[in-house]
Symmetry: C2
Subunit: 377 residues, 2 copies
C-alpha cells in the first residue's frame, strides 16, 4: 500500500466537485474517473491498445468471473492480471459479492461467508472474506474491494440491518487478511440499502476502521433515482475529504455529471460497453440508436463533434449496415466510441473543476445532453 | 481502365514464380498477393486500420452480399465502397456468381442470367451479366469480376460444357457492359470444372477476347487437391505472361506457396478470417488450435517468431481464456494474427522471388510448416 496515495488538487467553489490524483503501482489516475468494466479480463470488444487510445486510465475486473474462469492460480502463474491481459495501467477488482448475489444460483449466506453455485458449470464454492482477499492478491489488482453483502431493492429494514452488520464484520476480516497489502489498496464499501440510518452507521464504522478509499455500494440496483441521490447525500458527508470516493455501478452520463457535482471521484459501469454492443452510441446530444432506419443513409459520423476513431472514419449509415449484417466490427466501433465519449466526459469535468467553472459546465452539458435547459442540475 | 496496369518485375529462375506490380486507381499492389475477404464490406472482426497495420494491400468484397444488403444504391450514395467502408486501398469485387449457386435458394439459370431467392429474406432477384456489371460500377471497386457459371464438384462433362459456353458468353456481355471502365478493370474467369479440354477451350477464348487480368474459378470447390493442381497446370500456360493471374478461393498456406511457384499472382480466401474466428491460428510451424487444453497455461505468444500485435502482447493462455469465455477480443486477436501471417507469407515469397531463391525458400518453408523435409515441393 506504500505506492498508493490520493490527493485533492482542485475544488469547485460552487459545488462539491473535486479533482484529484490517485497514485497506484501501475500509474497515476486523474479523478474524477470512469472505469470501463473488463469482466473476464477484457473490456468487451476492445484491446488494451484501444483502451489506451480512448484515454482510459484504469479498468475494473470481476473477481467472481476470474475466480471461476480461468482461475486465480492461472492468472497468478501468468504474472498477475496486468500481465495476463496485456493491460499495463491500474486495475481495480471488485470482490464478487455483487455477482454472487446477482448471477450465482443457490447462494447461501452465513457469518462465515457465502456458498454459491457457479452460474456456468454448477460447481459449488465458498467465498469467505479471507478467501476473496486471497484471490484478489493472486489477481494482483492495484485497488481491491472487500466481500460485502449487497441487497436487492427493495429490502426490509431488518434484513438490511443484518446485511450491514455482516458487511462491516467482513470488511474488518478483509482488512486483517490484507495486512500490509504489498502494492494493493483495500477500499471499504458502504452498504445500508435505502435506509438513511444504516447508511450513516455503515459509513461511520468503516471510516473508524480506516481505509485508503471508500466505495458506495448497493445503489443502482433498481431503486428510484431519487433514492440513489438521497443516499449519496447521506453518505458523502461522512466520508473523509482526503480519500477517494467510488460510486459502484454508476452510470449514465447525466448521473456521472450530477454525482461528480456531489463529490464522487470514481465510477464504473457496463453501460458504455453493453450499450455499444447493442448499437446504442452516446453523443453530446444524447443517445443514438444507430440500428434505427432513420440512420440508413446518413453519411455523417455518429457524433460530428467526436474525435474517436469511429467518428473520424465511419458514418452512421456504415455502422447501421454493420449492425444489420451482424458484423463484429459494429460492436467494436460502437464500444470504442462510447468508451471514448465517457473518458472525454470525465476529462471535461476535470478541466472544468480545475478552472472553477464546473457549475456552468454542468448546466451547459445537461441542457444539451438532456435536450432541455435546466436552471439547476 | 487507364489507371490499371500490371508489370512483372522479377522471375524466379528455377520455378514459374514471378513478382509483379499491379497499379490501380487506389494504389499499387505488389504481387504475389493475398486478398482478405470482406464479404459484407468489412473483413470480419478487423477495422481498416488493422488491415493496414497487417500489411494488407487489397481486399475482396462480395457483390452478392452488398447487392442484397445494404444495396448498391446506398453504397453509391455513400461515394462508393471505399468511402463507405473507410478502406482507402484497392478493392476487388467478385460477381456474385459463386454465391448465387452456393448460398441462394432456388437459383434458376437461363441464357439471360440467373434468378435467385435471397438467402436471408427470400426475395427474388435476377442477375444478368449486364446487371452484375451495373452493380459493380455502383460499388466502384478497382478490379471487378464478370458473372460466371461456377459448378460444384463433381459435375458431368455435358453440364460443364454448357456452363463453360455460358461463362464465355456472359464474359463477352460483361465486357460490353463495362465499356471503357472508368477506373475499373474487368478480369476474365476461366471455368471448365475438372475437364482439361474445357479448361483449355475457356482459357483460349477468354484470352482472345482480351482482359487486363485472368482469374481461375471453379476450383477449391471440393475436388481432390491433385485435380486442382492438374487444372492449374492446364490453364496457366494459356494465360498471357504479362497479365495478372488470380486463383479464386485459395487457400491454405502450403497451397499459396505451391501455386505461387506455378505462376499465380493473386489469391483470396476466407481461411485466415474464418479459422481465426474459430480459434485456429496459422504459424510458421503449422496450425495452432488455441482452444485446446494444452495451451491453457502456455504463457508464450501464439507464434514466438511473429511480429503482429497479438503475438507481441498476448499469450496462448490468454487467447484460450478469451475463446473459452466467448469474448469478442478472441476472434479479433486471432484474425489479426492470421491476416498478418498471410501477408508476411506473401511478402517473404515476393522477396525470395526478387532474390532468385524462391525454390530454396519454398523447400525450407514447407519442410517446417508441414513438419517434414520435402526434397521437392
Amino acid at each position: 500500500m506504500g505506492d498508493f496515495f490520493f490527493e485533492v488538487i482542485a475544488e469547485d467553489p460552487s459545488t462539491q466537485a473535486r479533482a484529484g490524483l490517485l497514485s497506484t503501482p501501475h500509474g497515476m489516475v486523474e479523478t474524477p474517473v470512469f472505469m470501463p468494466v473488463g469482466t473476464q479480463g477484457t473490456v468487451k470488444a476492445l484491446s488494451p491498445r484501444d483502451l489506451k487510445e480512448c484515454g482510459v486510465q484504469i479498468v475494473l475486473s470481476n473477481t467472481y468471473h476470474l475466480y471461476l474462469r480461468p482461475g486465480p492460480e492461472l492468472v497468478e502463474k501468468a504474472g498477475g492480471l496486468h500481465r495476463f491481459a496485456g493491460w499495463e495501467g491500474p486495475i481495480l477488482t471488485d470482490s464478487g459479492g455483487y455477482q454472487v448475489f446477482s448471477l450465482a444460483d443457490l447462494s447461501k449466506v452465513t457469518e462465515e461467508g457465502v456458498t454459491f453455485q457457479s452460474h456456468w458449470d454448477g460447481s459449488f464454492h465458498l467465498f469467505t472474506p479471507e478467501k476473496v482477499i486471497q484471490v484478489e492478491k493472486m489477481l494482483g489488482a492495484d485497488i481491491v474491494m472487500p466481500l460485502d453483502r449487497c441487497l436487492p431493492y427493495p429490502s426490509p429494514y431488518e434484513e438490511a440491518k443484518l446485511a450491514n452488520e455482516l458487511t462491516i464484520k467482513w470488511a474488518q476480516r478483509c482488512k486483517e487478511e490484507m495486512g500490509e497489502g504489498e502494492g494493493q489498496a483495500l477500499f471499504g464499501i458502504v452498504q445500508g440499502s435505502t435506509y438513511k440510518e444504516l447508511r450513516e452507521d455503515c459509513s461511520r464504522r468503516l471510516v473508524e476502521m480506516g481505509f485508503p478509499g471508500y466505495a458506495i455500494g448497493g445503489l443502482s440496483v433498481g431503486e428510484p433515482k431519487s433514492a440513489m441521490y438521497e443516499m449519496l447525500q447521506v453518505v458523502l458527508p461522512h466520508l473523509p475529504v482526503d480519500k477517494p470516493r467510488y460510486l459502484m455501478g454508476v452510470g449514465m452520463p447525466a448521473d456521472l455529471v450530477r454525482c461528480v457535482g456531489w463529490g464522487v471521484d470514481m465510477f464504473d459501469c457496463v453501460i458504455p460497453t453493453r450499450n455499444g454492443r447493442n448499437g446504442t452510441l452516446f453523443t453530446w446530444k444524447g443517445k443514438l440508436v444507430v440500428k434505427n432506419a432513420e440512420y440508413a443513409s446518413q453519411f455523417v459520423p455518429p457524433d460530428p463533434e467526436c474525435g474517436c476513431y469511429t467518428c473520424q472514419n465511419f458514418s452512421r449509415a456504415y455502422l447501421r449496415h454493420l449492425f444489420q449484417a451482424g458484423e463484429l466490427l459494429g460492436p467494436r466501433l460502437a464500444t470504442l466510441h462510447n468508451i471514448y465519449f465517457f473518458t472525454q466526459l470525465m476529462a471535461q469535468m476535470r478541466e472544468a473543476i480545475k478552472e472553477k467553472r464546473f457549475s456552468d459546465w454542468r448546466r451547459n452539458f445537461l441542457s444539451i445532453y438532456e435536450g432541455k435547459d435546466l436552471s439547476s442540475a
